[in-house]
Structure formats: structure tokens, C-alpha cells
Symmetry: C2
Subunit: 228 residues, 2 copies
């Protein structure tokens, strides 16, 4: 059983507010899992009773729409927590989580986390701030979805992927998504997504080679995302 003290999740999540004692208690009751690429961590409607700490890898948070399309609401990467919303609300999760790469995660039961809420105000405030940050992001994202044409949403998504995940040595986006998944993030048909990628390529805003996507000038792409 590894300790939680050095875990990367402490660097980036509310868990940074926990003290040594609390970390030891958490280490004691956590369960570690390996999730293979493509496997599901949990599914929309499921009851969770705890949170997942993402030690390594990336997953997509998705929701199936009535027409059978999978909308990717956001990506969660190492260092982040998963399932807080559901745990705090005491409701089933409203999104599914599926690994985009092999992942290492730890599950921490609700009882433990809720205990920290009562004894560590800094922790509960930090968690509250995290949820508030998610809410701001969601509202802003919603306005983009409602108001921006697909091509600008695609550009915006690419900029975000660049900022969140960076690039490989060959200058292409590090995060590997299929065209279908990218379309799922943008909220469009796969063919439309492919076509518009091709457009952006012709405009010189991105550069495609195979399924790799490189962004020669993020600021330029970002300006396009805002003003078209």
C-alpha cells in the first residue's frame, strides 16, 4: 500500500490541504486500480460512494445524448479528482468516465472524505473552490456551444488541448484523440469535424500529418477561435 504523501494528486487537487495525519488515514483506506485504455471507470447513472484520484493517464467524461451521440464534456488528467460532484450531491454520477490511455487511479471512500470536511475547513473550502472553478468553466463552455459556429468551436478545442496537454517532440498535440472523439468534444458530426480540420489546415492555422495535429501558432489559432 503506497503512501499518499508524495502522490501527484496532492499537487494539483484539494488534497493539498490535507495534513500528514489525514493522508495516513487516507492511504489506509484507499484502493488502487489500473484502468486500461478504453475501459470505463464509471458510467452515467451509477452510484459512486467516493472519489477517484487520478495518479496517471487521461480519461474522457461523456454523456450520451438522446440521439445516441456521445458528447465529451471534458477531459480529466493526472493530478485531478473524479466524482466529487456526485459524492457531495449524494446523487448518481451524471457523466461516464472512460480511459483514453492506460490509467492509475485510487478510490477513496466517501466516509473518509466527508470526515475531512468536518475537521479541516481549509480542505472543504479548497474542494468548494474546485467545484466553483468547474462551474465557471461549464457556463463559459455552454455559451461557446450555443453561440459559436462549429469551426470556431473546433479551433477553441484544439487550443485547449494544446494548453492542457502540450505537444510531443514532433510538435504535435500530445493527447491522442480519434476524429470521432474530437467531434464529440466539439459537438458536431465526425465528417464535419474532419472537413473543418482540413479547412484549418488549408488556412495554415494547424498542420496535419496523418492523424497528428500540430499548431504552429497558438495565439493565431486562439484569435480565430474567438473572432472567426
Amino acid at each position: 500500500m503506497s503512501k499518499c504523501e508524495q502522490c501527484i494528486v496532492r499537487e494539483f487537487s484539494s488534497l493539498k490541504a490535507l495534513n500528514k495525519d489525514e493522508l495516513l488515514r487516507m492511504a489506509d483506506c484507499k484502493t488502487s486500480y489500473i484502468i486500461k485504455k478504453g475501459e470505463s471507470i464509471f458510467t452515467e447513472g451509477e452510484n459512486l460512494n467516493g472519489v477517484y484520484c487520478i495518479k496517471d493517464g487521461v480519461c474522457k467524461m461523456t454523456k450520451l445524448s438522446a440521439n445516441g451521440n456521445e458528447q465529451i464534456v471534458k477531459l480529466i488528467k493526472k493530478g485531478e479528482l473524479l466524482g466529487q460532484r456526485s459524492m457531495i450531491s449524494e446523487e448518481p454520477v451524471n457523466l461516464s468516465a472512460v480511459a483514453l490511455e492506460d490509467m492509475q487511479v485510487c478510490f477513496v471512500p466517501k466516509s473518509e472524505i466527508m470526515g475531512f470536511f468536518n475537521t479541516n475547513n481549509q480542505f472543504s473550502l479548497s474542494m468548494m473552490r474546485a467545484v466553483c472553478g468547474d462551474l465557471k468553466q461549464a457556463d463559459d463552455h455552454l455559451v461557446d456551444m450555443a453561440q459559436k459556429p462549429v469551426k470556431q468551436r473546433l479551433a477553441e478545442t484544439l487550443v485547449q488541448l494544446y494548453k492542457d496537454f502540450g505537444t510531443d517532440t514532433d510538435n504535435s498535440l500530445k493527447i491522442k484523440l480519434s476524429r470521432e472523439e474530437l467531434a464529440g468534444m466539439v459537438g458536431t458530426a465526425t465528417e464535419s469535424c474532419i472537413r473543418l480540420l482540413s479547412d484549418l489546415n488549408k488556412q495554415g492555422l494547424i498542420s496535419l500529418s496523418g492523424k497528428k495535429i500540430a499548431i504552429p501558432d497558438v495565439n493565431k489559432l486562439s484569435r480565430f477561435a474567438v473572432k472567426g
Copy 2:
């Protein structure tokens, strides 16, 4: 200076978790305002330093998109709090609030609320739950925006207005929105909104008389909103 103990906001918001002593302290430092229909409570980018309690009336929470369109993200009505997200995040508000009717609101400074966080765990948990509820709503809303065609989004919006605000004696939606505002909620052009209302009318899913909108069978309209 009126007391907070009997205020309707206590019935519907996290403030229900405050005890008599805390309420007295709050009554002491709050400021009451009357906001006329059409007036702004705060504007995107502004710093708030507190929350507003909505004693009466309804306001729209909007965000201006890059193309100059006003997206209405949600409506807030009496009994609810306004500005929690911004206060907790210690960031400027990301949405503007504009009164749709004459309103009565109270402003409670941040220092007071944050103080309650430290002394009343039930209160902070309740506030956290409220934000989590908003987050779930926002994510679900986002998926609708990305995946549903305009006509279904319009139907969904009408169902929501029916459920949240009910009907007048003549069976029409109690909340009064212009076609332009309705279009702003749905995320479409005003003319498209008008046309699709007319369509829904012809299909018998709603009934229009002047600018009044009645819903003869909510379940039917709701089914249409889901499956088209």
C-alpha cells in the same frame, strides 16, 4: 432593517442552515435594494465581494458572446442566492445579472458569509451542495446545447419555464420573456425562435395567443424535447 429569520430566501437556499444568532448577525450587516425591471444587478467582469439574496422577482444571468449575441445561461428567482460562485472563487463574476421584473434583493458581504463557513459546517456543506447542483445542471445543459437541434432545445426551454415558474390564471407561462430573450436562452436567432414557436403551435404542442405561450400537455412537449 428587517430580520432575516422569516425571509423566503431561508426556505430555498443554503441559508436554511444558519441558526438564529447567525441570522441576527446577517440582518445587521445586509443592505436591501430595489431593482427595477431591466436594471442590472451586476455585470460580467465586476468584483462582487458578497452575495445577493433574491427576496422577490426574477433575473436573467447572461453572457455576451464574441459575435455580440446575449446568451441567457439561466434564470434566478426569489428564494435563491446570486454570486456565490464568484465569492467563493474570489474571482470577478463571469455572468451578468439583469432584472426581468422588479426585484427586491439583499446584499450580504463576503466577510460575513465566509465567517459562517468556519463556524457552521452544515452551512458550508449546504452551499457546496448548491454549487454542485448548479454544476450538474450546467453540464446537462451543455450536452443539450451541443447535441439537440434548435426546435428541441426550444421545447426543452419551454418545459423548464413551465416547471420553474408555472402558469397564470389564463394557463399561459407566468414568466414574461420577449422572443429575443427566449431565443437567447435557446441559443438561436430571434427569427428562428419565432418560426419554431409557430411550428410548435401548428403541431399542437403549445398554443400561442399574442405573445402568451400556453402548454396544453407538458408531458407531450417534454417527450418532444427529448426525442424530437
